[in-house]
Amino acid sequence: MNRLNYIIKRILQIIPVLFVVSILIFFLLRFIGGDPARLILGDKATKSAIKALQIKLGLDQPLITQYWIFLKGIFKLDLGDSLSLQVAVSYLLKQRMPVTIKLTLFSALLAIIFSLPLGYLAGKYKDHVWDHTIRTLTLVFISMPSFWVGLLLMILFGVKLGWFPAGGWDETNLFTQLRSLLLPAITESLALTALLMRDMRNSVADISQMDYVYFAKSKGIKQSAVRKHHIFRNALISYVTLVSINIAYMLGGSVIIETVFALPGIGKLMIDSIFNRDYQVVQSLVLLFAGLVMLVNLITDILYSFLDPRVSY
């Protein structure tokens, strides 16, 4: 029951933040973005044509009314129409979201698969050759700009060797989708792999020195059991936080990766909409990103309680 109360409280905390975010983004874009009707019709449009479009788009209403319509729309999942693409924003999102989510999950999966064992081994064999190699790799991975790595992978495996498509998205089946996603996912996962590897290494190295680990060993508990229950489980706590913080961060990174690899996800949509001054889409996307980040944070906090019984509410 306690856990349920906590979850409800956390969800209630999210609502005011999202509300402020929606106000902020709506008014900022309205004040500085310029008149959408003029942007759609171009400089040569007549005054009456602009006026007519303004009325059609509801731009003649007071700002507060416009905001109210936007807010009501969010609850009805009706986010208005894209100004440049002339389709419903909700339709665009439904079409583009899966690509970004698949890319993010695939990257996170790759990062976890590599960082978990490698980081653990580096921590276990602290200060050995193995440890130094992994630490050097970490440093290099963190310092490389993702868009550069993406371009290099594209040149090597896409253009020169032709093993993978040099960008683009093949929706046909699961296999072609994975093929389109592999290079982008590797690119996006490198920095995360490095961060996670370093965290796992440091945790394992630190925890192995703890009194309770010595105690468990001297009590005669099997080595493998000490590693599994005393060291590994404790190291997982900060690891899981880091995964979730970075999933939120990777959603932002998708903007860059999707642009490099020409993947039709929401990140690419965001950049295209910014260049098209399509604020109807931009404001919905920003809100969506914020919502996703808070959702990920909520899930982390809940996961915590299962991983670490010491967390109380």
């Binding site: 975010v21 310092s143 490389m144 700009p145 903007v255 860059i256 910014i274 920003v286 990103f289």
Partner: protein, 288 residues
């Protein structure tokens, strides 16, 4: 166990003369790399006699050769020269993108942590809202509102960067506030200003400074990626991300436009990361 420990201690005593930081090869290597880039940024003309903006269509898209070390771009501009001159912009984005937030965020954290109350609540709520956005998205949105250009890249980095420092410093102040030396200073009747600046600041700033060293890499990469997306520094300015963006159109046959600027970005990043990492280590050891 005890034997090993005493052994280590005696060995340490023999090696004492070198100061801590010089014993760390990672710190020294990082420092050398960073100094090298600072030199390039200050005196790019010392290493090349060409002009980063000079167009020479006759020599367009040449492979790396003895005259053009890193090849040329589609206008025949020398990539090597453009990269050297670009160091100034990229290094500035990294360093000044961090310096201002460190100072402003630090001050906010100091005040919020020390006084608490309404100010603290307001600052923390603002951070809550801003933290709801992924970092890159926030910078992109600000850039799209402000418009492209180097000045706006700085503004965007400043608007986003201060939060981490406020949170770091505030947390440290809250911990230190109740320690005996601060209580003693209060009993002595020192002014708040003196306690904040002379007693608290030196004790709480180190974690923020360490974070700043690795934050430089993040700021530089973010600034470069804005140019790469076409939202930041605009061509023909010689900025590494902008050069990479330019190279993207020629990726199938002119790999050199892409390879070299990224290599410089990464190498520069490694330098700052090495510095940051070894600073963290040194601090940890001191804390023990």
């Amino acid at each position: 166990m005890i034997n090993i420990k005493t052994k280590i201690e005696t060995r340490d005593k023999k090696r004492k003369p070198l100061p801590d930081w010089m014993q760390k090869p990672t710190f020294v290597v990082g420092l050398v790399i960073v100094i090298m880039f600072v030199f390039i940024a200050l005196f790019p003309g010392a290493l090349t006699n060409q002009d980063p903006l000079e167009i020479n269509v006759a020599e367009a898209l040449q492979k790396p050769n003895s005259h053009h070390l890193f090849g040329t771009d589609e206008y025949g501009r020398d990539i090597y020269t453009r990269i050297l001159y670009g160091a100034r912009i990229d290094l500035a984005m990294g360093v000044f993108g961090v310096l201002i937030p460190l100072v402003i965020g630090g001050i906010l954290g100091l005040i919020a942590g020390y006084y608490g109350g309404l100010f603290d609540t307001i600052v923390m709520r603002i951070i809550d809202v801003l933290m709801a956005f992924p970092f890159t998205i926030l910078v992109i949105v600000i850039m799209s509102i402000l418009g492209a250009g180097i000045r706006n890249v700085f503004i965007a980095l400043w608007l986003v960067g201060w939060m981490s420092y406020t949170r770091l410093v505030r947390g440290e102040v809250m911990k230190a506030k109740n320690t005996e030396y601060i209580q003693a200073a209060k009993v002595e009747g020192f002014t708040d200003k003196r306690i904040l600046l002379r007693h608290l600041l030196p004790n709480v700033i180190s974690s923020a400074v360490v974070f700043a060293a690795s934050d430089v890499v993040l700021c530089m990469l973010t600034g470069a990626s804005m140019s790469f997306l076409g939202l930041g520094v605009q061509l023909p300015a010689p900025e590494w991300g902008a050069i990479l963006n330019e190279g993207r159109s020629y990726i199938s046959y002119a790999w050199w436009i892409t390879l070299f600027p990224g290599l410089f970005l990464a190498f520069n990043g490694v330098g700052f990361s090495l510095l940051g990492d070894s600073l963290t280590d040194l601090l940890r050891r001191k804390g023990r």
